[in-house]
């Protein structure tokens, strides 16, 4: 279980004479249950990617705590095997000197137990690719293929939670749909949960159980997807209206 309590994040801007604090996140608090898919929806600049970095433990919040099963997420021992990620920019998601095999092997190497006989073929087929991709380099893959490899890499170590930070936003329409479908199937197969960060409310609605709408660094609304139609806050209503019209 991932628990976020009273998280504040701000960046210091040092001017010539005085320093100003630019607050990016204010009083964020929510819980993510195992196996759940939680959508974090917000426009650019709403602080959703900053929140993503905090959830991944890459950055530490100024105030508040983020814990995974009671242990702080910023401790890298907590993260091992517990959490994984897929990022937006598939061009820089895989080391350019690594083959697909090496890329997928990386999370496995950290969990030495499954090292010897890993079935690359079935994993790749699971994400809609096959063994022939194993010895390819990232620059030989298309965007959709690269993102599938990234998903396979994230799934390989069977983490409890995968954070998808705008993972489908840089793909084109039909491929987006395929990847969403794939994520849904993977969830059924492996029983893992997602935290799905996106600006695309439709994609989130397709995949997520609950949705958290953030705006200007604050949680605007946290609803179950089924109850999306009767959101309370004016901003969430506005967002929905835009999508429907």
């Amino acid at each position: 279980m991932l628990k976020v309590e009273g998280v504040y994040q701000s960046y210091r801007r040092s001017g010539l004479l005085r320093r100003t604090n630019h607050e990016v996140l204010r009083n964020i608090g929510f819980e993510w249950e195992k196996g759940e898919c939680l959508g974090i929806i917000g426009e650019s600049g709403s602080g959703k990617s900053t929140l993503g970095r905090l959830l991944l433990g890459i950055d530490k919040p100024v105030r508040g705590s983020i814990t995974f099963d009671g242990k702080p997420i910023a401790d890298r021992k907590t993260r091992r095997g517990a959490i994984s990620a897929v990022f937006q920019d598939y061009t820089s998601s895989i080391n350019p000197f690594y083959t697909v095999r090496q890329a997928i092997l990386e999370p496995l190497r950290l969990r030495k137990s499954e090292n010897e006989s890993f079935d690359f073929g079935s994993l790749l087929r699971e994400v809609g690719l096959d063994e022939s991709y194993l010895d390819r380099y990232p620059h030989e893959l298309s965007g959709g293929e690269a993102q599938r490899v990234c998903i396979a890499r994230a799934v390989a170590s069977k983490p409890a939670c995968i954070l998808l930070d705008e993972a489908i936003s840089s793909l084109d329409g039909s491929v987006q749909m395929q990847v969403l479908e794939l994520l849904r199937n993977l969830r059924e197969t492996f029983g893992m949960g997602y935290i799905f960060i996106t600006h695309d409310i439709q994609a989130a609605a397709y995949l997520c159980d609950r949705m958290m709408i953030i705006r200007g660094g604050e949680i605007e609304e946290l609803v179950r997807t089924e109850e999306l139609a009767n959101v309370q806050s004016p901003y969430a209503k506005e967002l929905l209206r835009k999508v429907i019209s």
């Binding site: 991944l56 890298r76 095997g81 994984s84 990620a85 061009t91 690594y98 620059h139 965007g143 890499r153």
Partner: protein, 297 residues
């Protein structure tokens, strides 16, 4: 492997590589290749012209010029290479640390570099040589002390965009340690660029060492060094110009070869050319813009 193949396709690059490699080999095997001892004076042959046993003639003490040229490779090229290696590794270690960890580490290292770089290089080298005394070792020490800061700077700015890449972020998420990440994901990707930076600096370092030796601050008298050979030939510049031409042309040849090689290396490892196949078109733009940034920095 691929970059080397591409490098060899370029005619100028292969010639330069051959020249540099040959120079290094001749320098290493100088005792086997030199026809005479470089310090063996023979006043009977003073200013003698070219002959079969002395192909490039003899200098003002009757020493074999060819042998002196060959032995001169050692201080002029090999020792410069060692100094380059030393300063580049110090600079690389600090540059990687600064570029990867950022924050306070970066600030401290960069401020030290700022201080080092605010001294004028030549004056500082002269000051160090003045304190420690003339001699090749002291010059090389001065070089390492002056150059590491520059390397740290340049390498830091090369490492910074690499440390931002998503695959580094992903490894962090997995809980991999910083040093493992640097070793696996930052160093290998930065290495080709490091090679370009180092080879670019190599040429100018050869020139500077020769320059300092020309001024009499480098290697001491009986030993051969290209800059010093030019200084010795200065007295007879108009009557026996070939004495000056031999070391002069050697310097020009080696430095040009190094510079050509550095340029070709840059071309050979340009990631734009590395993109083959499907993604070449849409991936190309991003890489170029990244590269442009680095060149400015």
């Amino acid at each position: 492997m691929m970059p080397l193949k591409r490098l060899l396709k370029d005619k100028w690059a292969s010639v330069s590589l051959a020249v540099v490699a040959a120079t290094l080999l001749i320098g290493v095997f100088a005792p086997l290749l030199a026809p005479h001892s470089p310090n063996e004076a023979n006043m009977a042959l003073r200013f003698a012209g070219a002959s079969w046993s002395y192909p490039l003639g003899n200098d003002h003490l009757g020493r074999c010029i060819l042998s002196r040229l060959i032995y001169g490779i050692r201080p002029s090229v090999l020792w410069v290479l060692a100094a380059l290696g030393a300063s580049a590794s110090v600079g690389a270690a600090l540059g990687f640390a600064a570029g990867y960890f950022r924050g306070k580490i970066d600030a401290v290292i960069m401020r030290i570099c700022d201080i080092m770089l605010s001294f004028p290089g030549y004056v500082m080298t002269l000051a160090i040589v003045g304190m420690l005394g003339a001699g090749l070792t002291n010059i090389l020490v001065a070089f390492v002390m002056m150059k590491w800061a520059w390397f740290a700077r340049v390498i830091r700015s090369a490492v910074m965009p690499l440390a931002d890449a998503d695959y580094v972020k992903f490894s962090k998420v997995l809980g991999m340690g910083s040093f493992a990440i640097i070793r696996r994901h930052v160093v290998p990707v930065a290495l080709p660029e490091l090679a370009v930076i180092a080879s670019g600096a190599f040429g100018s370092m050869i020139l500077q060492i020769s320059g300092l030796s020309f001024l009499g601050l480098g290697i001491q008298a009986p030993h051969a060094e290209w800059g010093m050979m030019m200084n010795e030939a200065r007295a007879v510049m108009f009557t026996r110009p070939e004495l000056m031409l031999a070391p002069g042309l050697s310097i020009i040849t080696v430095v040009s070869a190094v510079n050509f090689l550095s340029d070709a290396l840059q071309k050979a490892i340009d990631p734009k050319l590395m993109l083959t196949g499907k993604r070449a078109k849409d991936g190309g733009g991003k890489w170029t813009s990244d590269l442009g940034k680095k060149e400015v920095a």
